[in-house]
Amino acid sequence: MTEMKMQENNISENNFEQCIKCTVCTVYCPVVPVNPEYPGPKQAGPDGERLRLKKGIFFDQTLKYCLNCKRCEVACPSGVRIGDIIQAAKIRYGKSRPKLRDFMLASTDMMGGIATKVAPVVNATLKIKPVKQIMDGVLKIDHRRSFPEYSSQTFESWFRKNALRDQEKFDRHVAYFHGCYANYNYPQLGKDFVKVMNALGYGVRLLDGEKCCGVALVSNGMINQATRNARRNIKLMEGALSSCEAVLGTSSSCSFTIRDEYPHLLGVDNSSVRDRMELAVKFIYRLLESGKAKLEFRDDFKARIAYHVPCHMEKLGWGIFSARLVKMIPGVEFTMLDSNCCGIAGTYGFKKENYEVSQAIGKPLFDQIRAVDPDYVACDCETCKWQIEMSTGYKVMNPISILAAAIKGRD
């Protein structure tokens, strides 16, 4: 029965031929209902792939409207890696060079490195109307966007000065992939992570010279840079794992990129670290559930919290860990928000051409947040945070920061 093997051997790497043309993916794509120009996952993904394999000229420029949220993949009954097919096609066929604007938005670590040094000036400048108008007119970054602020001290330098020497007192260690956001924009998240891990009995180590995970580089077509970053990060993680139990992240998009996009889109083998690279919430959940560690909560903590599962968290299937941890805190009144995309999708919503679409996608989520009227929103993704804060005025906190605020002990 050797001929039967054909069934197993006729599936290509990105499995587009598994598609049964049912259009279910299109039902769950957040872009399709709000942007009539976007052909939708089925057409952009498996259908288009057939044509593109024939001839690259069939590449459709509208593929840039894909948010890479992977909601189509979560819904597909045939397990087609639709989002991957679309991203891979953009990389392979979308040869247009990234514009200056895309370059700036994508180079989160380089821009962050510059901005941190002059943070007060940059923050003030980014808020000034004429500056916004220039960004809008020349760079096509939408002027209605408010920019995440840059911190004047990076997390890394805070860590070296204030936390490093205490960490070696612990017997067990985890390595922290802080990502650009915690480093340049919001070091408090990194501080909170250190506080929580220390309370659990773990010392924290940094990866020496971590690079941006590359999520924004990939979506802006800067693949070579992304691949270099990926190789370097994997090397650093391999090194760290010889003495640390795990490499943990606090951003769902960074963790998703490292675990899934590195092998699927960049062809960077991460098998040596993948099982031990995860989000802190999952690691902490496992620890607490197994009874190997405990957290002491303050008894005066009170908050009404609504949790938004970021798209990449939805794809990772780990939203439940964040939800469980937040719910576990005494004094928390918890609401799980409906599964909706916030519309920002990394740097996507910053671009002038996407602003309206981005806000229309997020509307159901914003409406629900206003209706629930929580003290704040919990969410594991920094770009969702910007989007929700800007669009609703509600404060957004990472679950790790919520844990840090709720446990006993000094900051």
């Binding site: 120009e37 052909p39 089925k42 496992r286």
Partner: protein, 419 residues
């Protein structure tokens, strides 16, 4: 992570079982790898359109008497099953889903190609016909421009042969131009998405009103109401004539909406729905399942007192076929099937296909069997079960719903007796 019950598969069966357990106070999780058969259904529920020996059924209580022993309905037992049938509409309305029809007798539906077929209950979008004659003298059959999954001329031909005068028309909505650029995107769910926008629905209504003459009813493809229920009532009111939806080729707009509603209801009642995750590597000790893993959970295990397998048939990957045999994909459970491959299928596609009746073997309480012995806390529901041929009999939804109720009740009663 601990639950009272874990259900593998989030289709009609998994959701009904989860809802019943959750509403009875049990903490449930549903693990579901992808969307289910509901997305492709007709929008009508079948219970038993004909008996395994090919007789068309009308009075369903009567038909139940003659089923083979291994049929899932026989395992539930006639008395209990008729009890379930009597409460089925109430169960669904408790989940925000209105069903039409009489749970004890079959009616008729019009298929996308214009045939009349027996069926059981309908989602609220549809109506059931009492018999094979057409209730109208004159109808307008209106289609959406460029939509190929709904064939107005077949339907007109069929109705005319039954003595009804038919006119056909097309509704042309500008906002669908983008879809029409690519004919493979002119599918029901995509069209429904456009028609969910009030201004587009209004355009459709005003065109239909202009096209109508003295017809009593207008027949439309079921491409309305992807997100919003009660669309038939609204259209009827707006148009001022009877609106009769005809199911389209898959995907099914009413089916998708119903699946979403059931999932929402399950979550609203406190259930955990793990979407896009696949259950694997179960751990068994003796005759019990101890825990189950998933792709996304990695080394973190899910534990429960009872487990329900509702992974569907071949289409949903609950079962698969190797060249030699039929396999249940997670536990490797015992299967009811023919050992000779030649018996699996008939080369005439439209004949009864035996493989559709293959599925897992259970005891009388729908507990699964592995290597000849019962797995005490593993139950099965829905189309993963063997012993009936849902395609031939027309018994898909009935089997999914009632085996799910039966399993939920088995679990609840075993909890109550051990307490």
């Amino acid at each position: 992570m601990k639950f009272d019950s874990i259900i593998i598969g989030g289709g009609l069966s998994g959701l009904v079982c989860g809802l019943r357990l959750q509403k009875a106070g049990r903490k449930c999780a549903i693990i579901s790898s992808g969307q289910s058969a509901m997305h492709f259904s007709s929008g009508y529920f079948d219970f038993l359109d004909r008996t395994p020996d090919g007789k068309t059924t009308k009075d369903l209580k009567e038909a139940l008497g003659n089923l083979p022993e291994e049929h899932p309905y026989s395992k539930i037992g006639k008395e209990r099953l008729t009890g379930y049938m009597g409460s089925v509409k109430e169960f669904f309305s408790g989940c925000g889903i209105k069903l039409g029809g009489d749970p004890f007798s079959n009616g008729y539906r019009i298929t996308p190609t214009g045939n009349f077929k027996p069926t059981w209950l309908s989602l609220e979008d549809f109506s059931l016909l009492e018999n094979e004659s057409v209730p109208w003298k004159k109808v307008l059959i209106a289609n959406i421009e460029g939509f190929l999954d709904f064939n107005t001329s077949f339907i007109a031909e069929s109705l005319e042969s039954r003595g009804t005068a038919c006119r056909t028309s097309v509704i042309d909505i500008e906002e669908m131009q983008r879809l029409r650029r690519n004919p493979s995107e002119m599918r029901s769910a995509n069209i429904a998405r456009v028609l969910d926008r009030q201004e587009c629905a209004d355009k459709a209504v005003s065109q239909i009103k202009q096209q109508l003459q003295d017809e009593e009813a207008v027949l439309l493809p079921a491409v309305f109401g992807l997100r919003t229920p009660e669309v038939k009532d609204r259209l009827t009111k707006a148009i001022g004539r009877e609106v009769f939806f005809v199911a389209t080729m898959p995907p099914s707009v009413p089916g998708i909406r119903t699946q979403m509603r059931l999932k929402e209801e399950f979550e609203a009642s406190g259930g955990v729905f793990l979407a896009g995750d696949t259950a694997l590597s179960p751990e068994l000790a003796g005759s019990r399942v101890m825990s189950i893993g998933t792709v996304n959970f990695g080394d973190i295990r899910l534990e429960a007192d009872s487990y329900v397998l509702a992974t569907g048939s071949f289409f949903s990957k609950g079962l698969s076929a190797t060249p030699e045999r039929i396999v249940e994909n997670i536990f490797g459970l015992d299967i009811i099937s023919d050992t000779q491959r030649e018996r699996w299928y008939d080369t005439d596609f439209f004949n009864r296909q035996n493989y559709i009746s293959y599925g897992i073997r259970t005891d009388s309480r729908m507990r699964c069997i592995k290597e000849g012995s019962t797995v005490e806390n593993l139950y099965a529901a829905g189309s993963v079960l063997g012993g009936s041929n849902p395609l031939y009999e027309g018994s898909g939804a009935g089997t999914a719903i009632f085996t799910a109720m039966y399993v939920a009740d088995s679990i609840l009663s075993s909890v109550n007796t051990t307490l």
